[in-house]
Amino acid sequence: MGRAGLRGALQKAALAAVVCFASEAGAVELKGAGATFPANLYEQWISEFNRANTDVTVTYSAVGSGEGIRQFSQGSVAFGATERPLSDKQVEAIAGGVLHVPTTAGMIVFAYNIPGLDKELRLSQESVAGILSGRIKAWNDPVIQAANPGANLPAKDIALVARRDSSGTTFSLTSHLAAVSSDWKEVGTTIVWPKTAQLVAGNEGVAGRIAIAEYSIGYVEYSFAARLNLRTALVENKSGQFVRADAASGAAALASTVDAMPADGRQSIPNPEGETAYPIVTYSWVLLRRENADAAITDGLKRFFGWGLADGQALSDKLGYIPLPAPVAERAKAILAELR
């Protein structure tokens, strides 16, 4: 290629770049960050939504609820995501106020890796609190054995896997524990785990660690366990029933509290009622600033989450999330409509 040819090529490249930018001019980019809990669903939402709506580009980084709230409060992302609603103090710090839009719900399951165990593991409330506090150290502990008659629980140390990062999943789990066990004191997004616990980041980190570590157990949102084909334990609920995490038990857990859903969408369900209800469930919220300076952003957020609350709900079940009950979805749409 001669000099002239090179110059021609450069001009073409420059032209191509200009054309490229021109076609992007009408597009709006929505950046979000937060919980890893709903990440599998949001990922799917984004790819489905972007197929039909090329003018709105949504990106979501799953960095954990704590980090998501931090970035949202600083204003570096258009939306945050969390399973721990903001405190009133945190809301006040943001000019114009914050909307909590419930987008989905999920079950926190205990995924385990016990080679050779011939029966499904059943965890009573006492054994859950015991394992997570480090009081129960071995799989053949009488407390665990009591709920698993006839199971060949091994005489091995329990390898607990927990979250290091600031996590809404941890918050939901510890809220449940505090509700069912009088010994459990610490509730929060980061707590002090037993010394033997393996601490990793993100729901995917916990699931990945359980997959490679034998005699391990940890807590993740159901879809992460399903993705890696991890076995999950039956957990004792408020009525003393041992319940498997599935679409029906998740829906039953939400059904018990639908009527009590407050107007602002911030509802925690630390210990749901019902014979068939799975005991550890939580809504997952996106955080939106009530007032957005850029109308294109407001419009983009309304369209994306509006789509998610309608068509997007159909994807929940398949991925291992609980679709919002109809009244809650309506409530969520009403909250989204307040966005300016």
Binding site: G66, A159, Q198, L199, A201, I212, A213
Partner: protein
């Protein structure tokens, strides 16, 4: 001699005084080299100062208690790195014992005429290539090869010898044992290469003298060659130790990330470098300061070890050449 010198001076010498340009370029080069040397020192100083300044709030808040507390609880604002210091030293020392044994054996094998020189060169290159494998690849290899491979042995040891603290907990997977094995392989090239240099520095006449005294080959190696190269071998161990202390990615993947102090080879643990790598991305302000303090502690430990290694090595080289 004197005559020769005089006669060569009287003829037109091929040597001449340096020209002005050569003086200038020589000065320029010296200046450049000096500047580069100083820049390196400044860079090191700058790193120290910046980390120190970032760590200052944590240093004044936690003081020396930071080094003796084994709790890392960002939620409570309580930080200590005793468990990580323990994990760092424990894993590095164990890895060094393994790497030392194999590294020195390899060095003897490759320098003491066991192999034809061409073949020895091939082996040397292969061992040195171990150093070129990226850390993250070692980590993956640890997860998918080392852990399953040692599982039967580890389970057997725990079942039969659980009264020995080394095997006191059951083996799950990520933990001290696979970390030590991977770490040993990672520092092996360092130990092997520097010990080989130490052996090669020994003049051939030393070995010939030993044979002349009627020693067998193994007597010559163990009673003459190894003691003579001892300082160099020791330096290789210290430098290997320095490398093991700072190793990050592979360990973050397989050591188990548990902040506990345990003698058991099968329980998960943590190291300073792995704590830094895995905690930084999500750390808040307070935790970041504490991590900077931890970084400073790690820097201090590796600095001391590396300086010690270098001093011993230069001492060894001096002793052997005189």
């Amino acid at each position: 001699m004197a005559e020769l010198k005089l006669s060569s001076l009287s003829e037109k010498s091929i040597s001449r005084n340096p020209s002005g340009a050569e003086y200038a370029s020589d000065r320029g080069f010296r200046g450049l080299a000096l500047a580069c040397g100083l820049a390196m020192m400044l860079l090191l100083l700058a790193i120290l100062i910046i980390i120190g300044r970032e760590a200052a709030p944590a240093i004044s808040k936690y003081g020396l208690g930071f080094l003796t507390n084994a709790v890392w609880a960002p939620g409570r604002g309580e930080f200590g790195i005793l468990a990580e210091i323990w994990g760092t030293l424990y894993s590095s020392i164990l890895a060094l014992i393994i790497a030392g044994f194999f590294g020195v054996s390899i060095a003897i094998f490759l320098t003491q005429d066991f192999l034809p020189p061409a073949l020895a060169q091939v082996f040397r290159t292969i061992v040195e290539m171990l150093a070129a494998i990226p850390s993250v690849v070692y980590g993956l290899w640890g997860i998918f090869v080392v852990i399953p491979a040692i599982r039967p042995l580890a389970n057997w040891l725990h079942e039969h010898f659980s009264f020995i603290p080394l095997f006191g907990t059951s083996f799950g997977g990520p933990g001290m044992a696979p970390a030590v094995i991977v770490l040993a392989i990672m520092v092996l090239p360092t130990v092997a290469a520097i010990s080989q240099d130490a052996f090669r520095l020994i003049p051939y006449k030393v070995k010939e003298a030993a044979y002349g005294m009627g020693t067998t080959r193994w007597e010559a190696i163990l009673k003459v060659m190894v003691p003579t190269a001892a300082n160099g071998i020791f330096a290789s161990l210290v430098l290997g130790f320095g490398r093991a202390l700072g190793e990050t990615m592979a360990l973050a993947m397989i050591i188990g990330n548990a902040n506990q102090i345990s003698l058991s080879l099968f329980s998960p643990a943590n190291t300073l470098a792995s704590l830094l790598a895995s905690t930084f991305p999500e750390a808040g302000q307070l935790e970041r300061e504490a991590l900077m303090f931890a970084a400073l502690a790690l820097l201090f430990i590796t600095f001391i070890v590396n300086v010690a290694g270098t001093i011993i090595m230069s001492f060894a080289a001096k002793q052997q050449t005189t």
